[in-house]
Symmetry: C2
Subunit: 745 residues, 2 copies
Amino acid sequence: MAFPRPKPTTMETLAMERANPPFNVRKLSIKMHGSERSLILKEKFMAESGQRYGALHMLTPQIARHPAFKLSDIHDLSKDELRERTMEKFASMVYYVTNESLDTFSLRMQLIGIADPSFWTRFGVAYGLFLGALRSGATPNQLSYWMDRGVLGLNGVIGCFAMTELAHGSNVAGLETTATFDPASDDFVIHTPHLGATKWWIGGAASTATHAAVFAQMIVHGKRHGVKTFVVQLRDTKTFTLMPGVTIGDIGKKMGRDGIDNGYIQFTYVRVPRAHMLMKHTQVSRDGVVTEPPLAQLTYGALLGGRTSMVADSSNSAKKALTVAVRYAAVRRQFAQGKNQLETQLLDYPIHQRRLMPLVAQAVAMGFTALKLQHMYEDMTQSLDSLEPGDPNMDEILDKLKETHATSAGLKAFCTWACLDTIDKCRQSCGGHGYSVYSNFPLMYADFAVQCTWEGDNTILSLQAGRALVGAWGAATRKKRLAPGVAYLGIPNILSSKSDDSLSLRDVQTAWHCVAANVVKKAAEEYVSHLKSGKSKDEAMERCSQSRFIAAKLHTIGYIFGMYREAVEEMEEGQETAVLKKVCALYGLWQVEEQQGYFLKYGYFTPQQMDKVQVAVDDLCAEIRAVAVPLVDAFALSDHIINSPLGKFDGSVYESYFAQVQASNPTPKVHPYFDRLIKPLLERENALIEDTGAEMGLDDELEEMKAEREEAEKEKEKAKRVEAKVRKEEYARVLPGGKVDDDEE
Amino acid sequence: MAFPRPKPTTMETLAMERANPPFNVRKLSIKMHGSERSLILKEKFMAESGQRYGALHMLTPQIARHPAFKLSDIHDLSKDELRERTMEKFASMVYYVTNESLDTFSLRMQLIGIADPSFWTRFGVAYGLFLGALRSGATPNQLSYWMDRGVLGLNGVIGCFAMTELAHGSNVAGLETTATFDPASDDFVIHTPHLGATKWWIGGAASTATHAAVFAQMIVHGKRHGVKTFVVQLRDTKTFTLMPGVTIGDIGKKMGRDGIDNGYIQFTYVRVPRAHMLMKHTQVSRDGVVTEPPLAQLTYGALLGGRTSMVADSSNSAKKALTVAVRYAAVRRQFAQGKNQLETQLLDYPIHQRRLMPLVAQAVAMGFTALKLQHMYEDMTQSLDSLEPGDPNMDEILDKLKETHATSAGLKAFCTWACLDTIDKCRQSCGGHGYSVYSNFPLMYADFAVQCTWEGDNTILSLQAGRALVGAWGAATRKKRLAPGVAYLGIPNILSSKSDDSLSLRDVQTAWHCVAANVVKKAAEEYVSHLKSGKSKDEAMERCSQSRFIAAKLHTIGYIFGMYREAVEEMEEGQETAVLKKVCALYGLWQVEEQQGYFLKYGYFTPQQMDKVQVAVDDLCAEIRAVAVPLVDAFALSDHIINSPLGKFDGSVYESYFAQVQASNPTPKVHPYFDRLIKPLLERENALIEDTGAEMGLDDELEEMKAEREEAEKEKEKAKRVEAKVRKEEYARVLPGGKVDDDEE
């Protein structure tokens, strides 16, 4: 019964995977985190990875030790328990938000976003959205008034953000809640005119917010002035009872992020002082004179920040899923090859390498893109802040802003899609165990799924990116200056360029420029031809939607590849850079394969070269597989953050999984429904107790069967032909002979 | 405040979509259900759609009225409540399973599978797996013994199926549980030797089964004889306490299907009578003589049945999701186009048509494939049953069996993937509301996700299909007879065929044959070249995994298209056939677009023809959009089955959604954590009560702002340039002039 030689344990197997990686894991990790400081802060917040790869020992251990941030029981909490715990976390974070520098706190929140997206969102509602609305919409006096009342420390005001309505999502201009000025009392009257105008999805409304930033159509002296923002108190801060005229309900369970208490709000002639309208831009005086701002605000910068953080989150969440999937694939063994009694590690199957290695490359690529984007965003904010009228660089800066804004729409869309896809592919790659909640994939998927919808539905954002590319193509054809991200549209002969057959990073970059330019051109030409046929601009844009979508997709993939390539080419040579270059090549070439139609259509690669690409991807997958475990280790995510026994750092997969299952599912002392449901079924008529099997008369039957066996021999002729045909022919037809094992796969 | 003309309600909008469809919805529905009888039975089981499109009035209303099959509260039940309800359903079905004809009961279960996959699975464990194991493995005496003890009516035995182990999934031959024969007592001793051999995922084990069919390595007189099946009692049927030596635990929450009580089982020297080994194939006599069967069983037929039902389920589940998404897209309005004050229906946006119409076509294609497969399966079972040794048709029948078996592996994989993808795309197409559990998409996704894993991981099944195709290619090159499904491999010059530029169904069919033949050839050639370079057969097969995978994918898509095309070409001409042909064309051409790389690589279509394909897909999407609502109505799924207010038949989307949210989330009388968590936060220091806004000094500030406005005018020069550049240039560069509305999309 024993195996001929001792089987390595899963822990030993994982240790072997870490023996002598051809690079320094910590150095690699620092490169992927942008700086050593970022990595050290992250480790400090996680408080776990001090023993690994020479990380600093912890100074002030944080979330892994805080009871509110316990994650191991999170899958078995009810919606109500999750929400209560969210509030515990909220209380625990007030200290940091009021005492820590903004960039340290941002890194803290980025980590918490990976560990606990539900809480991250609820926190973001109060600080990012509610406080953000005050910052961007309140006058200085208004802002300090609300700050004095405790917006920052939650001591007096807990805010939420009431924009979306039941029948209106992203079309803010179409919102139907009204805010009518009553000159007699100097109040605004906030009102929900019908069911479709009910505020919906409002995070924090259901049971934790005292105030809301309400978006409503402002009506003054009978005239509509568009959507403005009003601070409306929802609940009494002493008793938490609803304010008069405010109706609030819980909108219940969601696919994920159930720690957020999303609610609906209906206002029935709710009065707020005029001063509760945020008046930085539009002002309403005591006598109802409305002063509109001189121009629509430039909000591009703000959107950019949110999108940058979603690209970072896509990378981080994908890395979390992949850490689990790669470690599990290293320790899981399945099917012995040939005479080798030890079963093969999943990670050694070429198809399993194909399933995971390109996704690892993509996660790394998104990570470098997020770092670059973050720098661009910071530079741009600085440039804009210092911009004076008549500045000779203004055009250039604005071009860059516009381009980055459009590109970031595409990045948000394709990165969140890529991450969601990665999570589910990782789940599937872990087989049945990926379907257990304790693998953490189900929650990761459910929590992440909303990223494809909020802050702009991905498809719609892609079309926005595509529209900007159509515009950029127009500029390119007129030889105008192009922003860096679309400069490739102006490269001479880019449309008809060909591979130099090297498949080098430069070759791959040109490939992406070539196909992206071609599909952008196609979308622009369709747009123009619809215009020429008499369509309105809106209609023409709608009609070329599919081509705009494709343009955005290829531009975005090429952009991610370009960002990553730039990052690795800026690094000094070394072992870490070498592996990052390989990973970069895998990302670029794998995506060429995925989108091969365009490369063939526009002739950048020949069919023969596409076959070479496939071989190159196979080879890169195998090469990266060799360092896959130390590579995901460099993602530097603690066991606590990963929260999956399948991805345990020490490889104790089955033991940890079993322990988790047992701890989470104690056997109840009394069966909850045996008496009511099972017993009556079992005891209907002939249920027996004694069971020896003797009543079967099996042995007599076996004697008969023996006699029949002779008969069966006659069937052999038929049987042999069956076997020969069905089991062997597959190989036999290609080459003669050879046994086929049906269980091989 | 009112709209210039009355807005149609969502109900009116949906009614307009149903006005005068260019086909008879009921006739179309019958075609898609294979027969009128199937449709009528389905309606009878649903008990709801009697008023629609001339359906028969109900005779015996079923699941919509049975309290155990209530679905509206299912999203808010805890795991324990779901399981208890599963048992209620179980009890309610015993009558039908013991009284109804098999094919009627199968249709009933197919419907229940769409409505409630959790229960369907638990039921399938008892009847499909446990009883199936007895049927295929027990001798006649053994089978009647267990029948007498109440296997069918659950009156005495409630069975489960204990195959999978913690460290062994699909590799049945590698299972490590042992069954050692003890000649002294005539018993087998069932034992779990270590943690990894723990039976895992066993549906019904955690709290409802009395017996298990246990797969274990049989050891007789010290010799291993491979994996056999043993019936082991788990619990006392009177008290439900565990039998001695049996350890059972709950494995807890899963991504979906939480109505099934999956458990783990560890056996510690548990004795069962020798007669509890199922002995139809291998026998063990009283003195321990083991008689092995003359040949491995032919289980292809059984697998085929399971796979056929998974293809049907993929179609049905996709249709369920699409019914919701299409109806919602018809009533949801977003963004006004130009001066039209009425916002546009989502379904009128070309990109939204692109999102949904191809998926509708795919669901219909999978449905016809399932019907055809069902017939083939029935024919084949009949042919095999009547097959005599020496039958001249044997080779042909076996070829067909083998081919269908391999193809069904690919169909299972690509259909379940397609359905899972469809569910999530439908969710995303409904925007934020798709993320609410009440949309039903989250549960549909979570329940369906396991279909990609169980009964063979999809990737591995695809490789099996690919391996068979490699074999078939060998047969084709030797001009041997080919089974119908792979006959295209033998078409002369198929590898180099070209489009006749018609994009007719025939043209598209040839296109699929051409590219599938090319990729199959590529996989076969890679295999042979690895063999020639000295690799073992196993290794050579592994090395060409990626190409085998691609071969399986293209073969399978072409096969689905072929099945659907055959079905529509066999129909008499008519309005219903006309629309089904269009849908068929959309499926085939859309998939050509999706896989365009191969069509270009192998030269079936030129790049110019690919552009024509894109236009054709756009046009077909628009044509099918015009009949989208009656088309999904013909899927004939009741509101109860769909269980999503977003997809209500009558279009009362917002009202129903609101009602559901309210009913499911009553406000608790006492706030569960205000006193403990919120109040202390709010009352830290300066929390205020009175709030008139007067303290702001806002009006003085507004005066100051007025003065500053003059200063602001100076900024206008800068501002105007900003606006001109950022907001207008996108259009301006392509054509002069024109306002851009940022909210347009």
